[in-house]
Symmetry: C2
Subunit: 217 residues, 2 copies
């Protein structure tokens, strides 16, 4: 089991810490706010009131012995950078930091932080993707420009067979399966008929899926 350190208990840090602990991992957390530490201490292994930019504090808390450190404080860029640098200097195998913006992120990259997280920006992109392509419910990126998406079948496809849809010929995409109610049908034949409310699981190149999506909406 790995040992994790979470530095800073904002919404992101708190959630990371609690979730890791809930999944059976050892989690050490540090925050300046006594009230936050008090609230979280039963939901993590050890919780310390302290400054994440203080090297002695990090050592006393055992952060230097952790396998993974997550620098979750991000409003104070200076503290985040100093704390990240200290974690790297301890030789922690994986240092992850939440960045406030791309400039902050670039600085962290220069410090060789192993992974940089942009929760607000990433979620924004995910929301915009969803808002600007109504039919696509979810997607899995398999490689550059190759995806599996789940697309809501619009009314005009209802009561058409897989053969009649001719998705491969018309759009160069492959239908892998149909999700109907909570059932998944993966062994499709040409005669399977699409019903209203069906969700089609389609595989193809990004451009091809875009054309399909446009045609369906």
């Amino acid at each position: 089991k790995k040992q994790f350190a979470v530095l800073g208990l904002g919404r992101f840090g708190s959630k990371v810490a609690r979730e890791l602990f809930y999944r059976g991992h050892e989690v050490i957390v540090i925050d300046l706010n006594e009230l936050k530490i008090d609230t979280v201490k039963d939901e993590v292994t050890h919780a310390f009131v302290g400054d994440i930019t203080n090297e002695a504090t990090l050592k006393e808390a055992g952060v230097n012995d952790c396998d993974v450190a997550i620098v979750a404080e991000s409003s104070n860029i200076e503290s985040n950078i100093i704390s990240s640098q200290l974690c790297k200097s301890f030789g922690i195998k994986k240092v992850i930091a939440k960045a406030q913006n791309t400039i902050h992120g670039k600085i962290l990259t220069k410090l060789q932080v192993d992974q940089i997280v942009y929760p607000e920006q990433d979620t924004a992109i995910k929301l915009v993707n969803k808002l600007t392509s109504d039919s696509i419910l979810d997607y899995l990126e398999l490689g550059h420009h190759i995806n599996i998406v789940s697309i809501e079948a619009p009314e005009k496809l209802a009561n058409k067979t897989i053969k009649e849809l001719a998705l491969r010929r018309r759009f160069h995409v492959t239908i892998l399966g149909i999700k109907r109610a909570e059932e998944l049908i993966f062994n499709l034949t040409d005669d399977n008929m699409v019903q209203e409310g069906d969700i089609l699981i389609v595989f193809g190149e990004t451009e091809a899926l875009k054309k399909l999506n446009l045609d369906l909406s």
Copy 2:
């Protein structure tokens, strides 16, 4: 083309606004901070300095005519709730709000906000998933507890055939395909052999995939 309103220009709101505009949509933004409005005005359709809890301000900005309103201010729960309620009262088809925590989210649900976003918490879960299951690279949720995941094939699977892997019998999961270099192989036979570096695209129930993942790591 749809009309969008983004209320509050934190990291999440700013990104949503810019991205929507970049994709060719009309975006109206409102924020109290003059400097932020000044910085963003060339990257959106209209930018107004104003209070998102002020009904007259929202009407003057044309928010009531929008198809989608995103209440992106979330540190001040009261402002977020009032603004969300005003947007719902305008009859805006889709009102999306960023919530600070689940209690805030429950209140928004009672106001019948159409979608509630938790960027920090969702990204935290995504990070923890990645940290606690090295093999799973990406996943698509198809329904309650049913997923497609891409899993890195560890050394011990190299040079075994699909038949020898017997994933269906051993774990009740189905291998849909193999991603090798940037190639995707979807028409697998029992004799296909897994190579080192292959990424397996596997379908199955969450619990079954967990067992497979444990066995592989």
